[in-house]
Symmetry: D2
Subunit: 334 residues, 4 copies
Amino acid sequence: MPDTLGAAVIGLGMMGQRHARVWAELPGTRLAAVYDVNADLAAEQAAAYDLSPAASLEEALSAPGVDLVSVCTDDRYHLEPCMAAARAGKQVLVEKPLALNLADADAIIAACDQAGVTLMVGHVVRFDPRYQAAKQAIDAGEVGDVIHVYGRRNNILASGKRIGGRASVAFFLGSHDLDLMRWFIGAEAVRVYAESSRKALADIGADDTIYTLLKYDNGAVGCLETCWAIPEGVPNTLDARLEVVGTAGRVAVRVGDESLEVAGHDRARRPDIAYGPVVCDLQHGALRTQLEHFADCVRTGRPPLITPTDARAAVELCVAVHQSLDTGQPVVLR
Amino acid sequence: MPDTLGAAVIGLGMMGQRHARVWAELPGTRLAAVYDVNADLAAEQAAAYDLSPAASLEEALSAPGVDLVSVCTDDRYHLEPCMAAARAGKQVLVEKPLALNLADADAIIAACDQAGVTLMVGHVVRFDPRYQAAKQAIDAGEVGDVIHVYGRRNNILASGKRIGGRASVAFFLGSHDLDLMRWFIGAEAVRVYAESSRKALADIGADDTIYTLLKYDNGAVGCLETCWAIPEGVPNTLDARLEVVGTAGRVAVRVGDESLEVAGHDRARRPDIAYGPVVCDLQHGALRTQLEHFADCVRTGRPPLITPTDARAAVELCVAVHQSLDTGQPVVLR
Amino acid sequence: MPDTLGAAVIGLGMMGQRHARVWAELPGTRLAAVYDVNADLAAEQAAAYDLSPAASLEEALSAPGVDLVSVCTDDRYHLEPCMAAARAGKQVLVEKPLALNLADADAIIAACDQAGVTLMVGHVVRFDPRYQAAKQAIDAGEVGDVIHVYGRRNNILASGKRIGGRASVAFFLGSHDLDLMRWFIGAEAVRVYAESSRKALADIGADDTIYTLLKYDNGAVGCLETCWAIPEGVPNTLDARLEVVGTAGRVAVRVGDESLEVAGHDRARRPDIAYGPVVCDLQHGALRTQLEHFADCVRTGRPPLITPTDARAAVELCVAVHQSLDTGQPVVLR
Amino acid sequence: MPDTLGAAVIGLGMMGQRHARVWAELPGTRLAAVYDVNADLAAEQAAAYDLSPAASLEEALSAPGVDLVSVCTDDRYHLEPCMAAARAGKQVLVEKPLALNLADADAIIAACDQAGVTLMVGHVVRFDPRYQAAKQAIDAGEVGDVIHVYGRRNNILASGKRIGGRASVAFFLGSHDLDLMRWFIGAEAVRVYAESSRKALADIGADDTIYTLLKYDNGAVGCLETCWAIPEGVPNTLDARLEVVGTAGRVAVRVGDESLEVAGHDRARRPDIAYGPVVCDLQHGALRTQLEHFADCVRTGRPPLITPTDARAAVELCVAVHQSLDTGQPVVLR
């Protein structure tokens, strides 16, 4: 590998723009190419980094010095850029969820495997220091035999309105915690049951809230709450929890009552300080850490924190959630 | 009704002792008789109030000046004292849950109805000002069309060890919130599914945690978490929540990060200040408010906040939870 | 004393209206007379309770069946109604602070003493179960030798705008905690120093914030923050704290992140559930408890929780705060 | 400057060990030398990084490839290594506070200035994303004209016992927030008054708590609470706050009720996730960010976030605190 890794970013929405900025700012990496189906957006982002926008996916992948690729396209369109990147022998970092069905997930995994390139899916919450420290406490035995795990990932309604037409709340929010719950407790779900409600987003055909119960192969029970219809007036746009209770103790991550509050005469808000804060004019937080980690894995060959198996499991669980909603029955997984 | 209402308390465990104290302290009521199958306990409590302990349930009910009866026996033994009190024409206040099965619940309701006496079940959380104010906000339209309701009632392991042999966590803790959720959203559950875990209390044959999903007849979805195996080292012995999210807003009650914390050099704790605090040497809090309310209903004839229909519904839901756990299938209620 | 105590309420602003309602609702008391210099307000309140409004202070005090008097006039005008009530032999409950200077405070205390009537000042926070339980923990030795005590009582700007022309933030808010801090730690201040800031309320000649440092005769140090210019957009209108740290432990009351939150699409708020919540259509909370306590003291002759000495000490400390602000120097008290 | 900056770490206590690890882990820097007066400690740390321990300060500074120096010695002993580093032409990063008196502070500043090397003092909290985002909100006008600023930095008693013999709580904890308050509100203190209490640490001659009031040249008032005698049983070892209230709004950072809690059957604790968490086996958090920033300033020549003037101001304020404690009078600064 060269001293400085070159990155191409495919898909330049909010997440793609953050990837681009971090690749440009990190010591040891540089932004080498950007591409988006929206040519104006691509031009604008390219200009910000003194690049020429790529005219096609292929052009971006074959730009000089591209070692790795950030796939940040809409969740529905991960397959093509991931397959192309693998074929081009580029290391692949793709936004979560890996895919919206198992066929696509398996195809991407196989392609990367065959091409001998590293594949990591950006389950970014794993790089949040709170979840890292929680995982360390669990691994140190502070929970003991796991009794239950409760996850929550709720967003304000603006999130549901923005994404609801493109992915379900289970795939968009739930995939984070279905992965985290499995990572934390080191067990596989054997039974999945879900219930949902559809009111605020009924007009766009999306569920507002999905509750999922999971029975794990270690006897533990899990519950996941995902809602993207929280009223806009709450101080924090994200309300997330992950609590593991066991025979020896409880490890709880609670995101939402953040330590920073800004209030005016009309309302109060709690800005994000975990995922994308700017510190001394640089993009910091868990996304930056994730990209640093991926670059380090590419450089050193060590396996990424999120393996293809992990990423596939998250997709499998989301699929099971929807199968349960469709049938009204628990889904037996193994 | 006489100016001062006389109360008999049947069952003198922790809750019975609190009933006794409040009846003795409230303006307008007095403690007239106490009874427990444990004669020593009865003697001790009677002595504290300058009474003679009743030698039997019947003797307590027929003591001079008894107008109303607090039934605070073990959850398994509500039937006999309630039936006897109704037959004796006494007003009946019975601790929640009304019964552990629908046959007992129906028998008690019928007996009180026939005797023309008031029956109220002590779903005490309804008298907590936080839940009262939440209900008022919901009734004022601040939630809109209900999307979901999340309830939680978790206790430390000591609670599971103490009660686990006598009632399930669904009946002991869940009956509170199954009632509150129904009260808050004004809808009936049509489908109930539950999953459980049994580890810390496996030796006494009790579930540690039960998760319940509910689908309501207004399209809303509900989730209830009940666990009585929380590690003892947490600052608060009770962790309870009731959050209602709707198209117009969210009303959330969060009990646990209480406003009072006492810390020493070994650990921190948050004493109860909602249900049984002592203020100026008198028992205060929601239990006192509940007893005041019951006395007021008896005096004025107005209907109690918790009707027999409400109390029966809580029992029905607990029964459905266990049916789902037994069958592994969702239970369709109506 | 008669079985049912009759109360006259003098001054029918927000607090007076609450006193009136509680006297009307409490078992064992009744509302016997109301008076306000604003005749329309008096007529309106009287009508709500099927009374005729008194045409004068004297008429209210001499109304049939008046045993006790709630003085709820503007803080500047406590002297006249208290003196008149004492002369008329009525028991006196007066809103805090007792007076805005020591001469008035001493005159009222002397008059009540001479008349042999009970005088209690409504330092209502003492009746909040959180502060009661905190005091119990301190008295039980859980703090040990007191190192420091931090008090805070902050209100939103609307409060400063409403009251700022009539009393200072030290008298209006600070008198609560100067009393509570002294009650909690059982020590007298020997030195007082204060600093203030005046911006949002400069146009009405009032300080926005006053910070006060106190050195106590037991070696402990205290700090009090009072501000009534908090931006209106915060969820809770009151942000109060009382934290006592000692060699053995810490007892902390934190009011503000209340357990009830109501959020809409524009903002979130935390309704009061401690001082004036309505439960089952009755006024509940600390104010009701305070009035119950005062009625009980009148009935039984036991001394009220807040003695005239306590009430005077709060006035003395507020006076010292202003003396320090005026001179820029610490004020030595004893 | 070379591509990879070499760092020497002088003083290998807790902070020095963290500096060493970060210099060793950061892309673009390497650990080139370590030194401590405790030779065993130096040998141990050197071995961990495959280095030979320096036998003297001079040897460390003249080790091959040393570009910059982290001075992490005891707060009392910053002068000598800073002066030596400046003389040797090395860039100087020194732990806060710069010095315990103004003479030392001025000498170090002059030496670095004369040598033309960058001097930055590690006021690490400035690199915490919460404080960075707070500063950004203030700079964006969300506070308006500042009314008051409240700072708190409290540690458990273990901290006071460990450091109390070497520095005061004002220098050790207070210097952080005296700097932050000044940075946040962009004003200079004109008057300082302090009160203290000494009980738990009386035997080692240290104050437990110091309260400081500050009047600023923009009319705002400030209050700082510093205590290092908090009982050990609290869940979080650090309780810190910085709240700025102004005519337009409030920006509040509250550190302590952290989002991660670990509870066992004996007690609960909240691990640090802000200053020194380990993420994917690497040292992360604000200290790493601070070192990255310093390396970036050295590389690019841009001025560090904390200037010598800032660092001197923090020392000046700590000195004024002690002068006020000594005289019992407010200290006028300008």
